[in-house]
Amino acid sequence: METVKQLIYKEKKPVKVKSPSLWKQTYRRLKKNKLAMISLFFLIFMFLLSFVGPYFSPYILDRTDIAYANRPPSASHWLGTDNYGRDVLTRLMMAGQISLTIGLASMFLSIVIGAFLGAVSGFYRGVVDLVIMRLADILMSIPGLPLLLIMGAILSEWKVPSEYRLYIIMIMLSVVGWPALARLVRGQILSLREQPFMQATEVLGLSDRRKIFHHLIPNTLPLLLVVATLNVAGSILSESALSFLGLGVVPPTPSWGNMMDAANNYMDFRKRPWLWIPPGLTIFLTVVSINLLGDGLRDALDPKMKR
């Protein structure tokens, strides 16, 4: 009788021996998704425009020049000027810095808080889990916008200076954002724990550290990445709404939302659409791109869902 060794399948050795890492494989799948790639490039463009663009602008951000106020778009002012004679395009770029930063920073904060609390909840269970999840339930029962309104009102009452409001708004958005994330991470960890490969780590006698950092966390990262992406979109929308209502970022600091405040002025709204349509459109395009990218990432990370 032949032994197992002799019977090893004489398969042709493949040309490429080492498989590319899973992240590389994901990127390759993502590259095939045209819409997601266009979105990615648009987002990169938005970042460059916001953070590098102002250096190429001949106009200084806060320089006011009433003589040039309220000019419609022209060759020298591509998007026209506002009531103080400031270049709208330059302001749009500077506002982009603020809005994008707030979106990203509040996402990071929500992820850090949400993932940490969710992981603790899912891993240790028991009383810790109960307390954290009830807290999340409670925060999730207060509708987002009213909650932000109250916090905005508190900010106004405390007379927080304009330059600090920025940071507090990031914190506010993450307060609203973390519970959903914590729930998600907890659910993910609870279902991972039941997977046979997690039982295998127990049988193999791996240390808790190894189990958490090499087995649990890497398996939650893909989902977290998708949710984080979509979370940025949500944060940008919330920030802009809040700023539009005058409760978020307040002038003179520009943000896409408070630039749209121009529309609250009847004359500006009717006669000077270049003041409010560009920021609105920018918000829309940025958010659409982030959503499409997130959706593409979800498909790329989960090959089971492929066509």
Binding site: P143, P146, L149, I154, L237, A241, L245, R270, F284
Partner: protein, 318 residues
């Protein structure tokens, strides 16, 4: 089942308490109550007044006093409107309610149809168009789309009113009144529908996509049933059940989604009152409405879970 309802009920009570406490706590953080901002009062007089209103007591005690009032239907007094918040709420909530209800109806009908259609015709042109609209609808800032619509339909085309509930100075009655209000409602309802339709369509589409791949759908086809029976009897019921939970979420969601829309369209609803109360520092109103929306969410959530358990035989009989 009874046990489940009971357990879920107790959970709801806990969350209700927690939420009300958080809301109370947030408002307690607001400085500048009436007494502090009144500089003409001597410190002694201020102290007396505080004692009178119970403001010098520890927070927990004040919370329970407040909660007791809430249970008696006393939500505070609006300084700006010079009437009790309860009657204010009663006056404006219905205006919001009509818009929200109509939007809810439209959202569900359209989302259900497009979601199901795009799922059974996956990757078709229709599916592509639907997906495109879904993403656009999910990404529009509510205030921007409202403003755009006013500009297009109200200002440029002049076919729809730019805001309000009735024409300025109008005193029409009866059918004319209804028609007038209806005309003013078109834009707000459209916008509200547009804002919430995206995610719901996606829910229906993914739910349906998952269901039509199930074994029992194949069984239904193998029985020789008509495709319409397979889709609308066998698949749809399974796809809708989990989404029922959302229905209860939706109404309070629409109320809070309507805040900005009402402001822009000058619609006399709770959302506008709420925003006004922020700028006028009329905090009892803001507090009451927040509490109202939260309770609506929590109770809706509870009802959704219970209905879901009641209609799904897999849970019902456990």
């Amino acid at each position: 089942m009874k046990q489940y309802v009971l357990q879920r009920f107790i959970q709801m009570i806990i969350i209700l308490f927690g939420t009300s406490f958080i809301i109370f706590f947030l408002f307690a953080m607001l400085p500048g109550d009436y007494i502090d901002s009144n500089l003409s009062l001597t410190p002694e007089r201020a102290q007396e007044l505080k004692a009178l209103y119970g403001l010098d007591q520890p927070m927990l005690q004040r919370y329970f006093t407040w909660l007791g009032n809430v249970f008696q239907g006393n939500l505070g007094y609006s300084l700006k409107h010079q009437e009790s918040v309860t009657s204010l709420l009663n006056k404006y909530v219905w205006n919001s309610f009509i818009v929200a209800l109509l939007a809810l109806f439209l959202t569900w009908t359209i989302a259900l149809l497009t979601g199901v259609l795009s799922a059974i015709k996956q990757y078709s042109l229709l599916d592509g168009i639907v997906t495109f609209f879904v993403f656009a609808a999910m990404s529009f800032p509510s205030f921007f789309i409202s403003l755009l619509f006013i500009k297009w339909f109200g200002v440029d085309l002049k076919i729809l009113p730019v805001g309000g509930m009735i024409d300025t100075g109008s005193n029409s009655t009866g059918f004319a009144y209804i028609l007038e209000v209806g005309k003013h409602m078109i834009l707000p309802v459209t916008i509200l529908t547009l804002l919430s339709i995206g995610s719901l369509t996606r829910y229906f589409r993914t739910g349906m996509l998952e269901v039509i791949r199930q074994d029992y759908i194949r069984t239904a086809r193998a029985k020789g049933l008509k495709e319409s029976v397979v889709i609308f009897k066998h698949a749809l019921k399974n796809a809708i059940l989990p989404v029922i939970t959302l229905l209860a979420f939706e109404l309070p969601g629409l109320f809070s989604g309507a805040i900005i829309m009402e402001q822009i369209f000058n619609w006399p609803g709770v959302g506008r009152i709420q925003l006004e109360s922020v700028s006028f520092r009329d905090y009892p109103v803001l507090m009451a409405f927040t509490l109202f929306l939260s309770c609506l969410t929590i109770i809706g959530n509870f009802l959704a879970d219970v209905t879901y358990a009641a209609v799904d035989p897999r849970i019902r009989l456990k």
